[in-house]
C-alpha cells in the first residue's frame, strides 16, 4: 500500500447546485475552527453561487435576467463574470461549448444555461478559502469533477476514472499534487450533452476526461470534447497544459500523447 492512508483524513459531504459535493482534507489536526470554518465557508460560497446562477430557480439572478426583469449591471456581479467566461469558453472551443439555446432543465424550452461552466468555475472559486490551509492537503469533488492540492510532505491524490459502462469499475488512475480532473459523459444522466451544431443530444463519445491546472477549463474542455465527438482528440492534443482521455462510442480508450502514465 502507499502512504496515502497514513495521513489522517476527514470528509464532508453536502448537496448543493443539484450535486453531491465532497471535501476531503488531510492533515494532522482535522477538528477545530481552522479546518471546519474553512470547509463551511467553501460550502456557503457554493450555496451562494447556486442561489444566484441556478437555472432551476425562478428567484435566481440568472432567471430574472433572462426574463428581462433584471439588468446585468444590477445583478450579483458573478452573473456578469460567468456570462463573460461563457463567451471566452465558446471562443476557446471553436463553438463546441455553447450555453445559448440549451433545453431548460424543467420545460425543455431553449434558454441560456451556463451550468456547464458554472460548476467548475464555482468549485475553483470556492477553493480559494483553502489557500489559508497551510500544510494541509485537500480534495474537492463536485459530482465527479475533481480539484486537489497536496503539500510536499503528503502523497499525491489518486483519482480513479470510472468506467463509463460500469461506474463501479475504475478504468485508469491519475495522480495529481495540484490541479483538476473533469469527466463528461452520459453514464449517470443519459444523453444530456447537446451538439451545438444540431442542437440535439449527442452520444458521439462515451466519456471524455480532461486533466490540467484549472477545473474551470478542464470541465469546459471535457464538455466541449464530448459534444464534438471523434474529432475531439486532435483538438485536445493541441490545448496547452491539458491532457485528455476519450472513450469512443465503440469503447476504445484513446489519450492525447501527453496523458500522464500511471
Amino acid at each position: 500500500m502507499t502512504a496515502t492512508a497514513a495521513v489522517p483524513r476527514r470528509a464532508w459531504v453536502e448537496q448543493t447546485m443539484g450535486l453531491p459535493i465532497s471535501i476531503h482534507v488531510r492533515g494532522d489536526r482535522l477538528t477545530g475552527d481552522d479546518v471546519e470554518h474553512l470547509v463551511a465557508a467553501v460550502f456557503a460560497d457554493l450555496r451562494h453561487v447556486d442561489a444566484v446562477l441556478s437555472p432551476y430557480r425562478d428567484s435566481s439572478d440568472l432567471s430574472a435576467w433572462e426574463r428581462g426583469a433584471l439588468r446585468l449591471a444590477d445583478a450579483d456581479p458573478i452573473l456578469a463574470q460567468v456570462v463573460a467566461l461563457c463567451d471566452e469558453a465558446r471562443q476557446r472551443t471553436d463553438g463546441w461549448f455553447e450555453p445559448r439555446e440549451l433545453p431548460d432543465p424543467r420545460t425543455g424550452e431553449p434558454r441560456y444555461d451556463p451550468s456547464g461552466l458554472v460548476k467548475g468555475w464555482a468549485v475553483e472559486r470556492a477553493a480559494r478559502y483553502f489557500d489559508a490551509l497551510d500544510g494541509y492537503g485537500w480534495c474537492l469533488n463536485a459530482g465527479g469533477d475533481v480539484l486537489v492540492r497536496a503539500p510536499a510532505d503528503q502523497p499525491a491524490w489518486r483519482i480513479g476514472i470510472e468506467h463509463p459502462d460500469d461506474p463501479a469499475r475504475i478504468m485508469r488512475v491519475v495522480e495529481r499534487r495540484a490541479g483538476a480532473v473533469a469527466t463528461s459523459g452520459s453514464a449517470h444522466r443519459g444523453a444530456h450533452i447537446i451538439d451545438p451544431r444540431t442542437r440535439r443530444p449527442t452520444t458521439a463519445v462515451r466519456a471524455v476526461t480532461v486533466t490540467g491546472p484549472t477545473l474551470l477549463w478542464a470541465d469546459v474542455y471535457a464538455t466541449a470534447a464530448a459534444a464534438q465527438g471523434s474529432t475531439a482528440l486532435p483538438w485536445l492534443d493541441a490545448v496547452a497544459g491539458y491532457h485528455a482521455l476519450v472513450v469512443t462510442r465503440s469503447g476504445l480508450v484513446r489519450t492525447t500523447g501527453s496523458w500522464p502514465a500511471t
Binding site: T4, L19, I159, E162, P167, S184, G185, A187, R189, A207
Partner: protein, 172 residues
C-alpha cells in the same frame, strides 16, 4: 498494518454501499439465488493492535454454492489474523459499519455488522450482496484511490457512486 486496514475499510464501505443500492432493483428471486450462512468466527488478536481487534460475525458463502472463486480460506493461522473494525458511517441512506480480517497482510474476510435494514427487502438484498462483497473487495485491493472522476453524478444518484463510499469511510 493500520494504514492498510484503514484503506481496506474505506474500500469495503464503498462496496457495501454499492451493493446495497444496486441490488435494490433485483427481484426477490435474484436475491435468493445465492444462499448464505452467517457464522460466528473468532480471530486471534495481537495485543496493542490498532484499531482494537474484535470478534465479529462474518459472512461467508455456503461451501456448495461456490460463488467466491477468488476467496481465501476463512480459517486463519493462529496469531496471524487480525480483525479491524471501522467506525459507523452515517449516510443519508442509513448507517454502515465494516470489519475486515487481515491475514499476513492480505484481507481474508469481510463482515458488515451494521448496514441499512429498514425493511425486509434490505435484508434480502444484503443476504445476496454481502458474499459477493468479499470477492469485490479482494479485486479492489489494487486500485487504492482517493476519489473518483466520472460523468456528472446528481444528488439522486450519489448512492450508487463509488465516491459515496469513499466519503462514508472518512465522515467524522
Amino acid at each position: 498494518m493500520r494504514r492498510i486496514s484503514l484503506w481496506l475499510l474505506s474500500t469495503v464501505a464503498a462496496v457495501v454501499l454499492l451493493f446495497t443500492y444496486r441490488t435494490s432493483t433485483n427481484s426477490p428471486a435474484d436475491a435468493s439465488a445465492a444462499p448464505t450462512t452467517i457464522n460466528e468466527q473468532t480471530t486471534t488478536s495481537t495485543p496493542g493492535a490498532s484499531p482494537t481487534p474484535t470478534t465479529s460475525p462474518s459472512v461467508s458463502t455456503s461451501p456448495e454454492t461456490g460463488t467466491s472463486p477468488t476467496s481465501e480460506p476463512t480459517t486463519s493461522t493462529a496469531g496471524a489474523a487480525k480483525t479491524y473494525t471501522g467506525s459507523v458511517a452515517s449516510t443519508r441512506w442509513g448507517n454502515v459499519q465494516v470489519t475486515i480480517t487481515v491475514t499476513n497482510g492480505k484481507i481474508t474476510d469481510v463482515a458488515v455488522p451494521v448496514y441499512p435494514t429498514e425493511n425486509h427487502k434490505d435484508q434480502e438484498i444484503n443476504a445476496y450482496a454481502l458474499p459477493v462483497l468479499r470477492q469485490e473487495t479482494l479485486a479492489a485491493q489494487s486500485a487504492n484511490i482517493d476519489t473518483v472522476s466520472g460523468a456528472t453524478v446528481t444528488s439522486d444518484g450519489y448512492l450508487e457512486s463509488l465516491q459515496a463510499a469513499l466519503d462514508a469511510a472518512h465522515l467524522a
